[in-house]
Point group: C2
């Protein structure tokens, strides 16, 4: 077991390093932006899955959060978060676990876009002795879940309102198309589509006498670049807490805003293949290649030193096997002497939501480079 | 908590289903093949990471296994496995944990391809009070780790033999290029290259008076298709235990040999995008796309029913978000009525080593379709 404080050199590899001051800065910046724009912040904790991060991310706002799994819902409720939106379309089978959390006093919000499901959800909520809070999911162009037709939304909202054991809470969307960036004009315009789409549907519903307590949008690109959020009650960005190479490519952050990196050991040199081998492979990094859309030679991540400074030869993880990462140089040969076997480097991840999921927590690094504590994550479902 | 036995309908989603009879059949077949060919089987447990699977996979052979992480090493040793090869190049920092396992009575084998590391490993083994068993890693064309030159191998072997606290055990390789298939002639020829490469290097080393107790090859394709293993003492295939779409594409197995699938719920329909939504997304399936090399319309996996029968419309997971999978049809539109919200399907995974890593274990399904027990996995490092 690791005892704290300790040095980065003492940690097992691969593991996740979390730079506290960057996390706090990212969270403060987003919280301040949302406050300044007059909109609430309900951070999505699917990225961090950590109560320690949730406490920092919710500072200055209501304390409400968003989650993507029932495991997260249960974990955050147990740790005292009292207002949680579960942002994946609800199905009846999942109400058993939802009801347990709701009964413990946590406000749980669920989402649906299906009129045909309402009677089933109502019957199940009745059987479980709860009132289920439901929002209608809207599609503003992401083409994942949600309805886009005003009257279809109204029909579902009305069904919910009229059901004895359901409570209509409002509308929500996720403008996933904001990730198609990196043109800032494009992201701004997606943010405006997201806002207008939600506001106009909310108005249509309210004109029929139904109250949208919550009008909820959000993604890191739209929350970062949207000009106005008028008419929305809250935004739900998530990855801004940690940032990553994908967000850097999308111009949502700078490289120095990337909070979490993968600490890895050099475990071999292969001069015949012109590769340096590390112990962070496909499981330790994930096979997400999102960052290559907007950046060159990203592979499975860019290499930095243990202080987070980008490698001078711009080495990157060119290939992965399950437990091996193979480093290459975009500008010529790798020089094994610069990275002896046993030395430590870090990998800036392509998509931290995917990468972090392989680990049971984060080693927290302070500004002086010392490791102060370990923050657990809640993985699985 | 789930109580057993139960029905597949009672399980949370997403989760892993493991069909016991298929696992037993795959393991028996490989064990029998290796026995018939006169070579030992040291199955690689990086795929299953489960002691329950290890017990089945080692039946009929010595009980020795291969692992890819120190977490696996510690877990399997704790569960009584007494001969374990850690198949990632060893570095001095990791000897602390290796030594603890070795002191508990488990035979631990490590690998290296670095002459310069030998004095450091020797000093550290001395400090820890152990004799470290070392094999030399050979590269027979996979271009990952390992040496390919006879005299370089001999030099490392000799350094190990002459060190007071190291013990030279033999040579090993992993012919990763066997995954470039799917031509069976190609795989057969890689298997023969792997065998000949190892045997000729082992002979070279032994001619100098050093004994190779172990001459170890292995990958699922080469173990499945190699004609002879003469001169090898053991093979180390791993994914054959479970099989997957990648192995199916490589002709290492049939679809009915795939042991583990992802149980997922239908959570939505999006007729505008012609997609059906499930709760198995990028985390539940992994973002590995290996299977597309040799098969069409694989996406992130093929859809089957809960009995494992391939979907009649050949639906596949066309897109993933973190917690959403989007199903499409290769032959036209999807029909939402065939898969109502709340119904259950399974996903045949592209690359089960990657997919399984997101879960803490397997729900074991018997031939009558009942779920009999839960087998935990050891994840992380």
């Amino acid at each position: 077991m690791t005892t704290f404080p300790c040095s980065i050199q003492d940690l097992p590899t691969p593991c996740l390093l979390l730079r506290r001051s960057r996390l706090v800065a990212n969270c403060r910046k987003m919280a301040a932006r949302m406050a300044e724009k007059g909109v609430g912040l309900r951070p999505h904790l699917k990225t961090a899955k950590s109560i320690d991060v949730a406490r920092i991310a919710t500072a200055g706002h209501s304390g409400a959060i968003t989650v993507s799994t029932l495991a997260e819902l249960e974990y955050f409720a147990k740790h005292g978060v009292d207002d949680i939106l579960y942002a994946v379309g609800i199905i009846p089978h999942k109400l058993n676990r939802i009801a347990e959390v709701a009964r413990s006093g946590t406000k749980v919000l669920c989402i649906t876009d299906s009129a045909s499901l309402i009677p089933v959800l109502n019957a199940k909520a009745d059987a479980l002795g709860i009132t289920l809070n439901l929002m209608v999911e809207i599609d503003v162009g992401g083409l994942r879940g949600g309805l886009s037709d005003d009257d279809e939304v109204l029909a579902v909202a009305r069904e919910i309102s009229e059901a004895d054991h359901l409570s209509f809470m409002g509308v929500m969307t996720h403008a996933g198309q904001s990730y198609a960036g990196p043109d800032l004009d494009h992201i701004e315009s997606v943010a405006e589509d997201e806002r207008q789409g939600l506001v106009s549907i909310a108005k249509h519903v309210e004109q029929q006498g139904l109250v949208c307590q919550i009008v909820s949008g959000g993604s890191t690109p739209t929350a970062t670049h949207g000009k106005t959020f008028e008419g929305l009650t809250e935004m739900r960005p998530g990855v801004y807490t940690f940032q990553d190479l994908d967000q850097y490519g999308l111009q949502s952050c700078g490289l120095d805003d990337i909070v979490v990196s993968v600490l890895t050991s050099i475990v071999g040199h292969n001069p015949r293949a012109d590769r340096i081998l590390t112990d962070a492979g496909g499981l330790a990094l994930s096979k997400d290649l999102a960052a290559k859309k907007f950046l060159d030679h990203t592979g499975y991540g860019w290499i930095a030193d243990t202080d987070g400074n980008l490698n001078e030869d711009r080495l990157y993880v060119a290939e992965v096997h399950q437990e091996h990462g193979l480093l290459a140089s975009p500008n010529g040969s790798v020089d094994p002497e610069k990275l002896p076997i046993g030395s430590l480097i870090t990998v800036l991840p392509n998509h931290i939501c995917m990468t972090a999921a392989a680990y049971d927590g984060y080693y927290v690094v302070e500004e002086d480079g010392r490791v102060s504590e370990f923050w657990p994550r809640v993985n699985g479902w």
